[in-house]
């Protein structure tokens, strides 16, 4: 409260303006990064580069949807990356046995199971989501290793359709948009115009108030973590179509960036505030940033340090600008 008085009114007004349009500064940052990239390597930013960036940003944005939705409630889903890997690995190893369509359906079952366990632990045992999803993630990793021993003979196949979806382009557009555009539209619609979306924010903002209004939190948590696991599973299938080599650590590299994309995108890890729009831009920013750092030809260590530092700086500035607390 006292901070508002000290700060110049103009800055406060800018802050409020940005708080109402949180995506604006993110888009500016994205444009800035692209400009730097073009300045460093003139001509690099072309149609092909854009399609490629979008192609790699899509799985990240989808996995970040798991983090965004759970963060709305003040939670997080650290098992999302493993759920994605499990789905991808099970699908690839089952395809030779069952055929692609059935294998895809079967592969989503273990992912949903992870979500169910998360939901039960968080809704009924009141385990903190961070711990709960970390735990189920580790258990699922172990289970996947055991599973690998059993299926070592079957070999693995990535179905054509998934490879088409993951890597293909049509008229210059990545095919993954066929999956992603309806997906993003659905999430964006649900977050503001569905009862379920409202309840996510309500629980994250003040779960006591939600309870007082008749919300049974366990129902929401259970549905949320199963939904998150389902999204993760589908992301895994898309990602294996992009990478084309199923492994036990397939989606791991996307795990922490998925959290970062949501946070950079302005979703509060404390819950009650955020939007998937920001997350999508966040995923694009992280992907462009990755390209930029690769171009700098720094050693891997320095690149990671810079990556982490930039994420921290962006988040700090952004939170300072948009939250007037």
């Amino acid at each position: 409260m006292s901070a508002g008085a000290d700060r110049p009114a103009a800055l406060a007004r800018v802050g409020r303006f940005l708080a109402d349009r949180p995506v604006l500064p993110l888009l500016v940052l994205l444009a800035l990064l692209v400009a730097i990239l073009e300045y460093m390597r003139p001509g690099i930013v072309n149609e092909r580069w854009i399609a490629n960036t979008v192609k790699f940003a899509i799985p990240l944005a989808m996995l970040a949807a798991c983090q965004t939705l759970t963060m709305f409630t003040g939670g997080i889903d650290l098992s999302a990356g493993i759920a994605a890997t499990v789905a991808a690995f099970v699908m690839a190893t089952m395809t030779p046995l069952l055929g692609a369509p059935l294998a895809i359906l079967v592969s989503l079952v273990p992912a949903l199971l992870i979500g169910l366990v998360n939901g039960i632990g968080i809704a009924f045992a009141h385990v903190h989501p961070l711990i709960m999803t970390l735990g189920t993630g580790l258990v699922a990793t172990g289970c996947l290793q055991v599973y690998q021993r059993f299926v070592i003979a079957t070999g693995s196949v990535v179905p054509e359709a998934l490879a088409w979806l993951g890597t293909g382009r049509t008229w210059g557009f990545p095919n993954a948009l066929v999956l992603f555009l309806p997906f993003a539209a659905l999430i964006l619609y649900a977050q503001s115009r569905s009862g379920f979306g409202r309840l996510l924010f309500a629980l994250g903002s003040n779960c006591h108030a939600a309870r007082l209004s008749g919300v049974r939190a366990w129902q929401v948590y259970l549905a949320l973590y199963m939904l998150s696991a389902l999204i993760a599973g589908i992301t895994g299938l898309l990602y294996v179509g992009l990478i084309k080599a199923p492994s036990l650590s397939l989606v791991n590299p996307l795990m922490l960036p998925s959290v970062a994309a949501a946070v950079i995108g302005g979703t509060s890890i404390f819950g009650g505030r955020g939007s998937y729009t920001g997350t999508i831009v966040g995923a694009l920013i992280l992907t462009v940033l990755g390209t930029l750092l690769t171009l700098l030809q720094m050693p891997e260590g320095a690149r990671r340090i810079l990556y982490g530092a930039i994420i921290l700086a962006v988040t700090a500035i952004y939170v300072r600008l948009t939250e007037q607390t």
């Binding site: 708080a19 109402d20 619609y189 115009r193 569905s194 009862g195 379920f196 409202r198 309840l199 924010f201 309500a202 903002s205 003040n206 006591h208 108030a209 939600a210 309870r211 007082l212 209004s213 008749g214 919300v215 049974r216 129902q219 549905a223 509060s268 009650g272 505030r273």
Partner: protein, 500 residues
């Protein structure tokens, strides 16, 4: 010892003209208190009179803005609770002070409390078989209070400050506590005793210091009949028995009540409460702090189960395991603390529409236009100023409170449970809330209206229930509910003879 010797000895603690402001709010303007060794002085005042602020200043927890405090005749400015302790002022607050995760012995070590005297006083206060390795958090509340007192006495203070010491105690322990405290005073300690219970004050105390609106308005010897004078002083001179609201006497309600509460009990504070609430009626409720009203509202709103007794809705028995059950039965709750009810980072619209989407079959797409109509109707009816549209936390306190009520207007009101809905909001908004409550009742809603401002009983209610020590002590018509009568009842005193 009780009277004659007192005047001769110099005061241990002498505070005068103590003032304290919080921003624009003046909590204390002219608080004074003098106490000598061997005295027990009751500190009294209605809710919001400034008791707790005064106590916090005396015990070093808050800095005063003005006035003087002298301890043993020297400057008694205390920088911190630790400094107060070192100077011989030891408080026992209402909330247990032991750290719940540590065992009793560890707690004693933290406070440098000598173990032997502590155990002596624990036994003396009537708690048997205390184990020092017991985790504090596992002990019953009554025992924790006794341990706090024993710890305070073991520190051999000059001034012992007891805040609602007996509130959570069973009767036998209360007697022990009163005896031990009196012995402490007779042994030469000064005791400041804060309580709402006249019987205890009459038994224990030598004098009563009365606070009203942040100033000390009286310092009275305890003698038979002093209760009336204390109540008068707490209320102020303006309140004569003739000071009544404009509302006409309501017809006595008949028929099956919307809500019947019969013999309800929960926890230690809510003993046995019965009353009927009828459709079309606003039933006021008055009680001092901690007389079981919080537990009552928690049970009615579905936040906690009742341990004893029954609830009936429209003649049918009801029990709630979750607020959703209470809402399904038509009981909607507006808590006293707005922060409990609001989604502060979300919009007015989302706050108001929250109950509409609570059930799983409403999780799907929202009919945005229909929702907007209902929300706009609620906003219009509550006259919520939405110029600061956007996050609810940007609204003023009064507008926030209107949002918490408006939420139930949008959902449809049958029985509204209001807990001190006008606390801390401006006069204009208060008026609007009274009008709204009357209007809702006129349309057939039943309203239970707890208030800590006595005049609201006459301004907004038809009848009033007064609670004391977890029981209903009086149910009276709002037209008869003078401040004096409500206050006497709230303090558990017998009603005045005939018409005062």
């Amino acid at each position: 010892m009780r009277d004659e010797a007192a005047a001769a000895t110099p005061p241990v603690l002498e505070a005068s003209g103590v003032a304290k402001r919080f921003g624009a709010v003046t909590a204390l303007s002219d608080a004074a208190l003098t106490i000598r060794a061997g005295e027990v002085v009751a500190l009294m005042g209605a809710n919001g009179a400034g008791k707790s602020t005064f106590v916090k200043i005396l015990t070093g927890a808050l800095r005063r803005d003005g006035g003087t405090i002298r301890l043993h005749g020297r400057d008694g400015t205390l920088a911190s609770p630790a400094a107060a302790r070192a100077a011989g002022i030891v408080p026992v607050y209402q909330e247990p002070a032991l750290i719940p995760d540590l065992d009793v012995a560890q707690n004693l070590r933290l406070g440098d409390t000598p173990v032997e005297p502590f155990l002596h006083w624990v036994r003396e206060l009537g708690v048997e078989g205390l184990r020092l390795d017991e985790t504090a958090g596992r002990l019953p509340l009554a025992t924790l209070r006794i341990l706090d007192l024993a710890r305070a006495i073991a520190a051999e203070p000059d001034v012992l400050m007891l805040d609602e010491m007996t509130a959570a105690l069973p009767t036998d322990l209360v007697e022990r506590v009163l005896r031990v405290v009196r012995e402490q005073a007779d042994a030469g300690r000064a005791v400041i005793y804060i309580s709402h219970r006249f019987t205890e004050i009459a038994e224990l105390c030598d004098r009563a210091v009365v606070l009203r609106d942040g100033a000390t308005v009286g310092d009275l010897r305890i003698e038979p009949g002093v209760e009336d004078r204390v109540v008068e002083m707490m209320l102020g001179a303006a309140l004569t028995p003739g000071a009544r609201g404009a509302r006409a006497r309501a017809a006595a309600p008949t028929g099956t009540p919307r809500l019947r509460v019969a013999g309800l009990g929960a926890g230690t504070a809510l003993e046995d409460v019965s009353f009927d609430l009828h459709a079309g009626e606003v039933l006021g409720m008055v009680a001092l702090e901690g007389q079981g009203q919080d537990e009552l509202f928690d049970v009615l709103a579905g936040f906690r189960p009742a341990a004893r007794g029954r609830l009936e809705i429209d003649g049918r028995p009801a029990s709630f395991r979750h607020p959703a059950d209470a809402i399904a039965a038509g009981l909607t709750y507006v808590p006293g603390d707005r922060a409990e009810a609001l989604l502060s980072e979300r919009s007015v619209r989302e706050n108001i529409a929250l109950p509409l989407v609570a059930r799983p079959r409403r999780w799907g797409p929202i009919a945005m236009r229909r929702e907007a109509e209902r929300v706009d109707a609620a906003i219009a009816r509550m006259q919520i100023d939405t110029r600061a549209m956007g996050e609810v936390r940007r609204l003023s306190g009064g507008n926030q409170q209107k949002v918490t009520i408006g939420r139930w207007l949008a959902a449809g009101v049958e029985t509204l449970l209001l807990f001190d809905p006008t606390r801390g909001i401006d006069v204009r908004t208060k008026r609007q809330i009274y009008e709204l409550v009357r209007e809702l009742a006129g349309q057939g809603a039943a309203v239970l209206y707890f208030t800590s401002e006595l005049e609201e009983v006459r301004l907004a209610c038809d009848r009033a229930v007064v609670m004391f020590k977890g029981r209903v002590v009086e149910i009276l018509d709002a037209a008869d509910a003078s401040d004096a009568r409500l206050m006497r009842s709230a303090y558990g005193l017998a009603p005045e003879e005939a018409d005062a």
